[in-house]
Amino acid sequence: MSVPTISRAPERVAAPPELPDLLPPIRIRRGLIGFLRRYPTIAVGGALLLLLILIAVFAPLLWTVDPTALSPARRTRPPSAQFWFGTDMLGRDIYSRVIYGARISLTVGFCVAILASVVGLVIGLASGFVRWADGLIMRMMDGLMSIPPILLAVALMALTRASVGNVVMAITMAEIPRVSRLVRGVVLSLREQLYVEAAVAAGTRTPMIILRHILPNTLAPMTVQATYICASAMIVEAILSFIGAGTPPTTPSWGNIMAEGRALWQVKPFIVFFPAAFLSITVLAVNLLGDGLRDALDPRLTKRP
């Protein structure tokens, strides 16, 4: 990627001296189309994600039937014109279940991303600004990070009743340390900057410094981090449901559909296939979006060949 150049003003117009391009502008000025062409992964990932959100929102209108309606007479039918993705062991329509399952995955992904970002931001800011608490908070985060995230979520789910809310809580808990470390790193490096020192010297109160100088700078790395958290939360939700520690079995989620198809996968692979494909595509879309956002927002990477 080339270093963006600042277009020069005409000769006689007094122009301010060019600023060193520490933060090359995200060229939204070229228009949305130009931006999307510059970052094709954002375009592809964003479009796919938008499509999946629309599918989740308009699930009842997409020729679905009640995803929990049992009909023992037509169990494990292969995909056909009537049952697009076939039926499962209890005769439920897999197409409807998969379409409704998008709601669970996306809800969990977005909720975890937002919650973990907010809580991680608060902890990170506290750690970066309150000197005496820094050591304590970071040792706590080290401890929490030493527990593999899926196992932490499994342990929490074993102690609570299965519900979407509890799944969100369990995954969020495992993701918080990463965000707070990120925010703390940004805070510590910004505190060294002259303009922050100047603001402190001028008597600006800490809340104002956070609002004016710290928050805008955490926004870019946190957005990127949040997309990755969203992707990983969707995978963890599916894994938890798959091993029976996630959303309640009555709720159609992709992990649950696959868990039900597990016993029959050698003879009826389609039960597992469709939710698996939807899950992979959704996670891929979010990851593509994250990669694109990282390229667009991280000034250090734009200078790489």
Binding site: D142, G143, I150, A158, L159, I239, P305
Partner: protein
């Protein structure tokens, strides 16, 4: 140097203690009454009371934690609520398949991912680079059980090259042991390979721009020697770090992979324990895996000085 090693090892002790504290306090911070949840919906009040007593929830937190921690230091992880067997014995029975799976995955993932990352950085911007990085994004997005089912369907069910499921202990021969673990290891390794390859590429790109690489080229050194001796050695610290951090992914993935491939390891133990709400077993497995994770990262930390002699403490 020796002082550093001692200090670094000493520094892991509080981390381990914190992990133990966290795992233990989950019983207390989880919303609702864990005894009632563990006992299940059909439990009588007497059952709930029995579980409350066996988990020690009737006594104060600190006293209970002290006792529990003291037992752990003596190698006692408690007793299963369901089978009444010691948790350590249950873990010992199941540990071989899991460690085999993780070791094979680790070795083969590093052997594939590092050269792939080096190749991608050498041919940066080319078709090969894009192909490898494209694979990395896809590999990162495919959940481990999806890859597992896909591989098992293609190579075991359709082509019948490898066994579909199950596990043969190492004592029954290396070949059947290895054959049973190939597909699970590939499935489990996907995410890990993607992670390591991406990091290797980024670290190598940084190094390949340095003057000493140009100097090595100028003196007529072969490309392979430049890449693997000069460049990779200098890029090895971030790569080693991500190999260590990525083990968390391996551990989480192993639980699922074992379910897909019916491997009777710690993952199966965990899944069975979840279905029976056997919290002491889950606690023991989480603690054990966290210890493995912390110790592995300690070893990698100590390796830094070997990998990069400029690092001196």
């Amino acid at each position: 140097m020796f002082g550093y090693v001692v200090r670094r090892i000493a520094a892991t002790i509080p981390v381990m203690a914190l992990v133990a504290l966290f795992v233990f306090s989950l019983l207390y911070i989880a919303p609702g009454d864990p005894a009632a949840v563990i006992a299940g919906d059909q439990a009588t009040p007497a059952d709930v009371e029995r579980i409350r007593l066996s988990l020690g929830l009737d006594r104060p937190f600190l006293i209970r934690f002290g006792e529990w921690f003291w037992h752990i230091l003596h190698g006692d992880l408690g007793t299963s609520i369901f089978t009444n067997l010691p948790v350590t014995a249950m873990i010992a029975q199941r540990i071989e398949p899991t460690l085999s799976l993780m070791a094979i995955t680790l070795v083969f993932a590093v052997l594939i991912a590092v050269p792939a990352g080096v190749l991608a950085s050498w041919k940066a911007g080319s078709f090969v680079d894009r192909a490898i990085m494209g694979f990395a994004v896809v590999g990162f997005s495919m959940p481990v059980f999806v890859v597992g089912y896909l591989l098992a369907y293609c190579f075991a069910l359709q082509l019948a090259w490898l066994p579909v499921q199950g596990y043969t202990p190492l004592s029954a021969g290396v070949r059947p042991w290895f054959e049973n673990l190939i597909l699970p290891a590939v499935a489990l390794g996907c995410v890990y390979i993607a992670l390591i390859a991406r990091t290797t590429r980024a670290a190598m790109l940084e190094v390949l721009q340095q003057d000493y690489i140009r100097a090595a080229r100028a003196k007529g050194m072969g490309e392979a020697a430049i890449l693997f001796i000069h460049a990779l050695k200098n890029a090895s610290v971030p790569v080693a770090t991500v190999i260590g951090i990525g083990v968390a992914l391996l551990i989480g993935g192993a639980v699922v992979t074992e379910s897909v491939f019916a491997i009777p390891g710690l993952g199966r133990l965990t899944v069975d324990a979840i279905l029976r709400r056997d919290y002491p077993v889950i606690q023991g497995v989480v603690l054990l895996f966290s210890c493995i994770y912390v110790l592995l990262n300690l070893v990698i930390d100590l390796l830094y000085t070997v990998l990069d002699p400029r690092i001196r403490y």
